[in-house]
Structures are given as C-alpha cells and as structure tokens.
C-alpha cells in the first residue's frame, strides 16, 4: 500500500489561498463577531442583569427609608421622652435610692402598716431569677408592723410601685413582718443604630406595658397622701 503524504509547502499554501481566498473575509468577520459576542455582548447582558438587581435593591431600600422617614416624622419627641421617662421610672438606669424609699414609704402609707426599719445591701444580685437574667438589683430587708391583711396590702402596693421590686422572702411573726426585697435597675445599654434597618413602632405588648405602668402610677398617686409613715 502506498503511503499518502501531505506536504504543506509554500506552493500548496499558495494554491489553497487562491482557492479559498473569498472565504477569508467572511470567516474573519464570523470569528470576530463570535468573539465579540462571547467576550463583550454576553458580559454586557449579565451586567444589565446585575444592574437591574442592584436597581431593585436600591429601590427597596429607598422605599424602606421613606417609610421610616414618614414614621419617624410622625413621632412626637415629647411623647417619646415621656414614654422613656415612664419606662425609666419603672426600671431606672441607676440605683434610685430616693425612688426606692419613696416607693416603700407610699406602700406603707397606702396599706396602713408601720415601717420599722430597712437596710440596703448595695449591689447584690440576690435572687436566682435575677442572677439568670443578670438584672442588676438592690436588696433591701424591710421590717413592718401590721396585721396580716395590712401585710398583704403592703405587698400588693409594693408590687405596683416603682422602681420595680420583687419580694424574695416574707416572714410574718408575732410582732413584726420581715421582707427581703430586691429593687431592680438597668443602666442604659449602648445602642447601635443602623439607619438602613427598618424602624418598627412599639408593638401592642409594649404599648400595653406602658399603659399598665401608667395605670399603676396613677393608682399610686391617687391613693397616696402627703403624710409620712416613718
């Protein structure tokens, strides 16, 4: 069998060139077009898709920000200050000794019991729940004189007075009743504000809590008398 050899010498190339020279320009155009399509047009189409996504994201962000702006615009600064005051009265940012003494005094007056003495144990986390929740509190041992109904009224008054307190033990004896109470406080936490985060209004539970605190405050003020019971 005879071996078939292809010899690409100069004359062969020349022959092929003359034979197919009319194909060169169209083929070159096809090659350039395909290359441009792959390297330029398709990335541009993808780019448009990304831009559209980005546009949608920015539009959503603008909508949220506009809603926030309208919502924040409707908020009254004085109302906010008042609500913050109400919440801070119930749970002060620091050890509110005056508030605590006033609360104990008013509770004693309203319940008709006599306060013997009380002792502060500053800075102690006294209850298990307080420890779990790392809620700072101030422990106070109270001694009161009064009948059991008076003690019950005192406990009720104390529960509805501010700063918020919790009784951890109660001992009613022949001559006096001793109570171990903790008064809670909470320093203002550092607030990290994100302008882009959607701002929510106070929810129903929070508004109910404000109303509850207000009603307790009003109850306390309406029953309190100016005289002291120390």
């Amino acid at each position: 069998m005879k071996n078939k050899k292809i010899n690409f010498d100069q004359s062969t190339i020349r022959i092929l060139y003359y034979k197919y020279k009319e194909f060169i320009i169209p083929m070159f155009i096809i090659l350039v077009c395909v290359t441009l399509f792959l390297k330029v047009t398709i990335p541009q189409i993808e780019d448009i898709s990304h831009i559209k996504d980005e546009e949608k994201t920015i539009k959503d962000s603008i909508n949220i920000l506009k809603k926030d702006l309208i919502f924040l615009g409707t908020l009254n600064s004085e109302n906010l200050d008042s609500e913050l005051d109400i919440a801070s009265t119930a749970l002060p940012p620091g050890k509110d000794f005056i508030g605590i003494i006033s609360s104990i005094s008013k509770s004693a007056i309203n319940s008709g019991v006599k306060l013997d003495d009380f002792r502060f144990s500053v800075g102690e986390l006294s209850t298990a729940s307080a420890k779990v929740n790392t809620q700072p509190s101030l422990q106070i041992n109270l001694a009161i004189k009064g009948n059991i109904n008076g003690v019950k009224d005192f406990v009720e008054e104390l529960a509805k007075s501010f700063p918020l307190s919790e009784i951890t033990s109660l001992k009613i004896g022949d001559s006096s009743t001793t109570l171990v109470t903790v008064f809670y406080y909470k320093p203002f936490p550092p607030i990290e504000l994100n302008d882009r985060a959607p701002q929510r209004a106070l929810n129903k539970k929070e508004l109910d809590m404000i109303n509850k605190i207000l009603s307790w405050q009003n109850e306390e003020e309406s029953t309190a008398s100016p005289s002291s019971n120390f």
Partner: protein, 175 residues
C-alpha cells in the same frame, strides 16, 4: 511560468457547491455582524435607561434625612429595651400578694395566723384557734387545693398541739 496556475481543476459540480458554501458563509457573517450591531445598540439603550446613579443619589438623600432623626430611633430602641426588661421582671416575679390572699381566703375567721413564712418554693405557717372544727376546715381547704392542683403540690402538717387553744403548723410546697 506563472505561479498562479490552478493545479487543482474544479469540476462543475464542485464549483457549484463551492459557490453555495461561500454564499452561506457570507450570509452568516453579515447576519452575525448585524446581530452584534443590533444587540450592542439594544444593550446601550437599556443601560442608558437604567439610571442607577440617580437612584443612589436619591437613596443618599433619604438616608441623610433618616440620619437626622437618629435621636428618635435611639429613644425608641431604649424604650423598647426597657419595656422588654420590665415585662420580663413582672412575668417572672412570684406573686406574694396572691399567695397571701389564698391563705387568708382559706382560713376561717376564728383561726388566726400567728406566723407565716413564704419563700419561692414553700409556704409554712402556724395557726391558732379555739375551735378544732375551724382548724379542721382550714386543713380541708388546703388539702382540697392540693387535690385541685391549685397553688400547692403538697401539704405537710408539722404538728398539732392542744392547750388553752389549738395550734397547728403547716408546710405547703408551692407548685
């Protein structure tokens, strides 16, 4: 001798096929060229319509307006945080008033409570009465509360003494 002599003679059939192929290639090249031009124009038009810069500018403006109201946002966050803590304290603190009320309610009028201790897990108290019947009613009331699983899980009578009057000491475990 000329170098441009075609040494591969075409047959007529091959020539026809060659011309047809050339025509197809030319058509494809023109089509692709047109496609590239049209697609470039469309992309340019679409891109010119997507005004992302103006949107970004608008976003910045709104954001700066929102930033001016940061104090309101901060106050809202503080109020919310404080109310959350208040709700937590109120929800978890034991209701001593209710416990005392229940004991008083279940105690007949001629029975006096001489001593009472309430902790987070139990209530213990001493009661005194001239009537054993009234002491019995108090016991019955407390036992029925255990049966009803109301406030108490267990009642223990520590002692019952009879002297000038009847004295009992009871410990009740809270639910």
């Amino acid at each position: 001798m000329s170098n441009e002599i075609n040494l591969l003679p075409f047959k007529r059939k091959n020539l026809h096929r060659f011309k047809k192929a050339l025509q197809i290639v030319r058509i494809i090249s023109v089509f692709l060229l047109l496609l590239l031009m049209v697609s470039s124009l469309i992309i340019f038009y679409i891109k010119s319509q997507l005004s992302i810069d103006s949107l970004k500018k608008e976003e910045e403006n709104v954001l700066s307006n929102v930033s001016r109201m940061r104090s309101k946002k901060a106050k809202l966050a503080l109020i919310s945080d404080r109310l959350h803590s208040i709700a937590g304290i109120i929800d978890r603190r034991p209701d001593y008033e209710y416990r005392l009320g229940v004991i008083l309610e279940k105690t007949p009028s001629d029975v006096s409570i001489t001593e009472l201790n309430i902790s987070n897990s139990a209530i213990s108290f001493n009661a005194q009465s001239d009537s054993l019947y009234s002491i019995g009613i108090l016991m019955d009331n407390l036992v029925s509360m255990v049966a009803e699983k109301s406030l108490f899980s267990k009642i223990t009578l520590q002692y019952l003494s009879i002297g000038d009057s009847y004295n009992i000491s009871i410990t009740a475990n809270l639910l």
